[in-house]
């Protein structure tokens, strides 16, 4: 395990020196800020119209009715969703939509970089292949978690300052829950990227193949009979207030992530380097 930590540390320092870590943060935070600015602009513009705020407040029941129509008669789900600030919901929905693609771009070389340049040969004389995979995965998890948390903080900070009527105190607990979900959700897609990276040698090809996998998994996730074999199928489990749904959703993302990582690890252990 020591070897894995050393490799992770070296990889993270390399990411800092190559500005990869900085770019990751800029991309995540930049996109979060962009969403915050656009959302704030639109919502402020709409609510600035005379009577709109009152109309929105008065239409809570109508919104609940609409949610009931869409989601069925689960009143606790309807109440739960209706209680979440729109901005927070929108940001979590966008995160679920675009995070897998961001991960596939930023971590495309998670396992194939050292193998392509054969730098892995210097490392593998002193550490096991398992340590190499663990180390690389740990460093890329940090490169996922830190920017993801920062992006939520920046988003919340901006909307709390600029969005009229945004109750930051009420939003924070739900945002923290979604932030946690984001990390587990991202873990799964980092696993997928690592698997593709272990199978394909070029970083650009890894991105393309991962995109193709994401589209395929998304299509499969939309098919009722077999959707459960795709991570996409579990996306909306994370929107429920019920423990059973949440556990199913988080368990699925953790499970798929571990499955992808295990497959990537096996591939690295068995291949020539």
């Amino acid at each position: 395990m020591n070897q894995a930590f050393r490799i992770a540390g070296f990889d993270l320092v390399t990411a800092l020196k190559t500005k990869k870590a900085f770019i990751s943060i800029v991309v995540y935070v930049g996109l979060a800020l962009l969403v915050a600015v656009i959302w704030t602009f639109i919502q402020n513009k709409v609510t600035a119209e005379p009577g709109v705020t009152e109309q929105l407040n008065g239409s809570r029941d109508e919104i609940k009715q609409l949610l009931t129509t869409k989601l069925g008669q689960d009143s606790s789900l309807v109440d739960y969703l209706a209680s979440i600030p729109f901005a927070v919901m929108a940001f979590f929905w966008l995160t679920q939509t675009f995070l897998p693609m961001l991960i596939s771009v930023i971590s495309s070389d998670v396992l194939n970089r050292e193998i392509r340049t054969r730098a892995a040969r210097f490392v593998l004389l002193r550490a096991s292949r398992t340590s190499l995979v663990l180390g690389k995965v740990m460093s890329h998890l940090v490169l996922l978690i830190v920017p993801a948390i920062l992006s939520w903080i920046v988003f919340l900070a901006y909307v709390s300052i600029r969005l009229t009527g945004f109750d930051v105190g009420a939003a924070i607990p739900q945002a923290l829950v979604f932030m946690g979900y984001t990390i587990v959700f991202g873990f799964c897609y980092l696993g997928l990227t690592a698997l593709v990276s272990s199978l394909v040698d070029g970083a650009a090809v890894t991105v393309l193949v991962t995109f193709a996998c994401l589209i395929t998994l998304s299509i499969i996730g939309g098919i009722d009979s077999i959707g459960w074999i795709s991570p996409s199928w579990y996306r909306y489990k994370l929107w429920y207030p019920h423990a059973a749904n949440i556990i199913t959703g988080l368990g699925a993302y953790l499970g798929f992530g571990l499955l992808f990582f295990a497959a990537a690890w096996q591939r690295i252990v068995r291949r020539d380097v």
């Binding site: 070897q3 050393r6 490799i7 070296f10 320092v13 390399t14 020196k17 190559t18 340049t117 054969r118 730098a119 040969r121 210097f122 490392v123 593998l124 004389l125 002193r126 550490a127 096991s128 340590s131 068995r270 020539d272 380097v273």
Partner: protein, 309 residues
């Protein structure tokens, strides 16, 4: 597994599609030896190295390294190091950072890794390149970095794939000195095209061709050092030749084609060590009236190499 062997390959075979890079190779590298691995381009030397290091998996056969099947070798022990061919280290990290990282990965403390790194980089003439990034190193500098990292720690087995290829004579000399300094404390396997260098440096050697072992053994045996001596004789004639042929222990003596001397084959046994045998032959030739102006024991490794490849 014999404990006196640092590396054993048994029926080692590696195919890449239809190409058989290494074909049923049985190799034994004695512990403590400086072992030369020779062969023409494409003979399978680098693939053999890669299988010994665990980078490439054998299609058939097995490799035992320091007593462990290579799949089970404890790589974190720092007992094995190598100069892999064509491997490039992180282009964005400095030479010194990379050395310390590899040193600590091999079990050294950070301060010990730093101390050894400074020393080794100085030896390979890279002191001023310590702060250079890997991506800015020339081919020769990358090679010297590769050699320096191979000597980090206290490895029991060091594998060097063409360590002096592409280096200037001074650096090549330094590398040979570094390898010699390891003699007795570690086993070193060196692949090289420089036959004179291998003959000078190595205690044992193996020659492979088309992935197969064609000759192997102690250098003295490969070069017939203890079975053959060439005397340069200015006044060689039939009478002198006959008297040399008649010397005790001599199994054959033939005049060189250009008449400049005589090749003498002799046998050694418990009573007559090779050094004594050569002294006796030289003394006998002088006593026979020969004007001996040169003595050369054995044949060049080059000659042996050309015979078998």
């Amino acid at each position: 597994m014999k404990e006196s062997l640092a590396v054993v390959t048994t029926s080692l075979t590696r195919r890449f599609g239809s190409l058989v890079a290494v074909d049923n190779l049985n190799l034994e590298v004695p512990t403590g030896s400086i072992f030369g691995l020779l062969g023409p381009n494409g003979a399978g030397k680098t693939t053999t190295f890669s299988m010994i290091c665990g980078f490439v998996r054998p299609t058939e056969g097995s490799v035992t390294v320091l007593g462990f099947p290579v799949k089970e070798f404890p790589f974190s022990s720092g007992r094995l190091s190598a100069l892999p061919q064509d491997a490039k280290f992180y282009p964005d990290r400095t030479v010194f950072d990379s050395m310390i990282f590899l040193g600590t990965l091999g079990g050294l403390t950070a301060s010990e890794a730093a101390r050894q790194s400074e020393e080794l980089l100085a030896k390979v003439d890279l002191t001023n390149a310590g702060s250079m990034k890997g991506g800015h190193l020339s081919h020769g500098m990358m090679k010297r970095f590769g050699i320096a990292q191979a000597f980090l720690g206290r490895p029991d087995l060091v594998l060097l794939d063409e360590p002096t290829a592409g280096l200037d004579p001074r650096n090549a000399y330094t590398i040979r000195q570094m390898i010699r300094a390891l003699a007795g404390t570690a086993t070193v396997v060196v692949s090289s095209h420089n036959l004179a260098e291998v003959q000078d440096l190595c205690t044992h050697a193996a020659i492979i061709n088309h992935g197969r072992l064609v000759s192997a053994g102690p250098m003295d045996e490969l070069t017939s050092r203890n079975q053959e001596v060439v005397l340069t004789i200015g006044n060689l004639n039939e009478a002198i030749l006959q008297r040399i042929q008649a010397l005790a222990g001599v199994t054959g003596a033939t005049a060189l084609h250009d008449g400049s001397g005589v090749k003498v084959l002799f046998e050694t046994n418990v009573d007559r060590e090779a050094d004594q045998a050569v002294s006796a032959i030289v003394a006998g030739a002088i006593a026979a009236g020969a004007s001996v102006s040169g003595v050369k024991r054995g044949k060049d490794l080059e000659q042996r190499y050309l015979e078998v490849t």
